[in-house]
Point group: C2
Chain length 196, copies 2
Amino acid sequence: MSTTDGSATASVEDAGGTGSGRDAIVRAARRAFTLKPYAEVTMRGIATAAGVSPSLIVKRFGTKEALFNTVADFGAAADALFAAPLPELGRHLVLTMVELRDRFGGDPLLRVVFSLGIEDERTLLRARFREQVTDRLAGRLTGPDAALRAELIAGQLLGLGATLSLHRPDGAGAHASAERLADLYAPGLQRLVDTA
Amino acid sequence: MSTTDGSATASVEDAGGTGSGRDAIVRAARRAFTLKPYAEVTMRGIATAAGVSPSLIVKRFGTKEALFNTVADFGAAADALFAAPLPELGRHLVLTMVELRDRFGGDPLLRVVFSLGIEDERTLLRARFREQVTDRLAGRLTGPDAALRAELIAGQLLGLGATLSLHRPDGAGAHASAERLADLYAPGLQRLVDTA
């Protein structure tokens, strides 16, 4: 990925320096941290997936924790989730969340919730979430209590991903169409977008 | 706690056998697992808080994982959360969630989401959540898609706790009254309760 393509992830992907292998490491690490519990992710596994040596990852990114923080970026997900005018945002959020989960085989936001349960020092991840998701959304909302409403919208988005993950593979959500999920879940989101 | 008080937690608190120290261990363990990341909870710390020896906990409950699963009970929280008639359930859910979080210094449900990010083998916790929260709620709802609507209501509840925790201590939700949170968040929940 070029650093000049204007994507929200470009600056994060620069964090390990430039040169061959960097993008492959970032992609492999993001995939590993999204698909697996943190404890099960290994530098060796990421190195194998990226086609580089473990020592190169350590040299470029430092510890596993440092690599985790480097790839913990919500900008691209926020770009997709928020790409709709406010009057249509509720439904767009649900459909996009389902699409992103399907496309990447994991939830684009939920790891910020995992971070509450694992290690207290993962505050960088939460700060990124607030900046890239909540604050960005609050900046788009009009009317009073925009910050509070943005927090609650973020909550509903996290809750949608959480419940779909918790109840898989045999839950009702796993068998519902994205359109049906949106029919049921979007009105609450849209009310928080609209409510003054 | 008596085993005949009819509370939803009674059977779980029996799981370690009867006798002195059992209830104290369960209380200390539940508090530790609610307030701290799993990795930071120690049998020694629980023993100190309960006023018993670590070896007594091991004898009664087995490993830390076994103790975790024993105290991973959502019945009491579900009792409180669902104690309202359906036409008022949305608002009751929000107010009760805020009250339970305040009273216990932690979220009564959110640890089931942490379980998605930590160890895949913690499926017992998710099975309990489905049985004690989602299935119980689905059994109360009327109209079509009750199971799906129950999953989505559970999602909104988990999301409320998640966003309050993620944005503390300086977020807008931390400074909002329970009544204001209910004004904003309850309509979406109530719509899922009512929607057919």
